[in-house]
C-alpha cells in the first residue's frame, strides 16, 4: 500500500515541521511569547491544524524539551572528556552553566517553566534522565575514588545540580541584580563560583 505509506510519511513530516518551527520560535521568543497562532502562521496553516498533530501546547513543549535535553547531553559529551574524574566534573559544571547562559530560553523551558511534568512524569524522566545520569556517572567516579567531601552519590548529584541550576536560574531571572555586579562580569562570576564550590568540596 504505497498510499498509506505516503500518508504516514506526510503525517510525520508535518509533525516534524510543526515541532521544528515551534523549537525555533521557543528558542527565539520563549515559550510564553510564542502563540499557537504564530506557529500556525509561520508554517502557513490554520491554528486548528496544529491540534491535529499535538494535543495541546504542553505536548509541543514536551517535544522541544526532549530535543533540548538531547542537546545538553551532546554538550556534556563534547565538553566533558577529561580522564581525570575531578577535571571531568569541573568540565560538566562549566558546560552546564555556559549552556544556560547561551541558551536562556531553552534553559527556561527545560528547568524553570511550570507547565508539564505535573501530569506526565514518565516523559520527563526519560528526557532529563540521560543528562542527570551523565552527572551521576561522573560523580560516581569521584566519590568511589574518595576525591570528594561528599559521600552519598545521589545527595551529591542533587547538590551539584542544584548549585549550578541556582546560579543559572537566579541570573536568568535577574535576581542577581541585588549584588552590584556589572552585567558583563556575571558569566565569569558564575563559572568561577561553580569552580570554587567544587574546589571547596574536593579533598
Amino acid at each position: 500500500m504505497g498510499v498509506t505509506d505516503r500518508k504516514e510519511r506526510e503525517k510525520t513530516e508535518m509533525k516534524e515541521l510543526i515541532r521544528a518551527t515551534a523549537m525555533k520560535m521557543f528558542l527565539e521568543d520563549g515559550y510564553a511569547k510564542t502563540s499557537i497562532r504564530s506557529i500556525a502562521e509561520a508554517i502557513e496553516y490554520s491554528p486548528g491544524t496544529i491540534y491535529l498533530y499535538f494535543k495541546d501546547k504542553d505536548e509541543l513543549l514536551y517535544e522541544v524539551q526532549g530535543e533540548a535535553y538531547g542537546q545538553l547531553l551532546e554538550v556534556f559529551k563534547r565538553e566533558a572528556t577529561s580522564t581525570d574524574p575531578l577535571e571531568k566534573l569541573r568540565q560538566v559544571g562549566r558546560a552546564y552553566i555556559n549552556f544556560g547562559l547561551q541558551n536562556p530560553e531553552l534553559y527556561d523551558l527545560m528547568f524553570i517553566i511550570r507547565a508539564p511534568m505535573n501530569v506526565d512524569e514518565e516523559i520527563h524522566k526519560a528526557n532529563g534522565g540521560n543528562c542527570f545520569a551523565f552527572l551521576v556517572d561522573c560523580l560516581n567516579d569521584c566519590i568511589s575514588k574518595n576525591l570528594l567531601r561528599l559521600t552519598d552519590l545521589h545527595q551529591a548529584s542533587l547538590l551539584i545540580w542544584s548549585t549550578a541550576h541556582g546560579l543559572v536560574s537566579l541570573n536568568l531571572r535577574c535576581r542577581l541584580k541585588i549584588m552590584d555586579q556589572p552585567e558583563e562580569a556575571i558569566p565569569e562570576i558564575l563559572i568561577r563560583s561553580m569552580e570554587d564550590y567544587l574546589a571547596a568540596v574536593t579533598i
Copy 2:
C-alpha cells in the same frame, strides 16, 4: 483641611485593600492564575478601578514581593538566632528551604517568576536586599573567623543562596522527579542536602 486628609486616607486604604487582596489570592492560586478581573470581583469593584491605584499587574507584584521579602526576613530573624556563626548559618539555610516549601506560590513570585526587575531594578534591590544582607552578615562572621573553606564573602553568599534556591526551585518545578524519591521524603532530603553541603565547606 479635613477633607483632603480623609481623601488621602481613603486612597491609601483602597490601595491597601487591593494589595492585601492580591497578596491573599497570589498566595492561594499563584500570580499567573490570579486575574485582575478576579481581584476586582473579590473587592467588589470594576477591573478598571485597580488601574487607578496600580500602573499594571507587575506593580501589584512588586508590592506583594516587598511584603514577601519582609516575611522571609522575619523568618530569618526568628529562626536564625544562634550565637555560633556556623550554627546560625545552618539555621538560615533550614529557614530558607522551609520557607520555600511551605509557601510555594510566594517563593515562586519572589524568586522564579519572570515579570519584573527587568525594568525596575531599584525596587528589587530594596526588597530583596535586606534578606540577602542577613545572609551576608551571617557568612561574614563565619569567614572572618576562618570557619569555612570559602574565602570570598560575596562569592560564598552567592553560592549558598544558589544552592538553597536550586534545591527549592527544582523541587517546586517538579524537576526532582527524575530522582525516584517518594514525594513525602523530599523536604527531609532537601534539608539534609543543604546541611551536608554546609558541612562539606566547613573546615
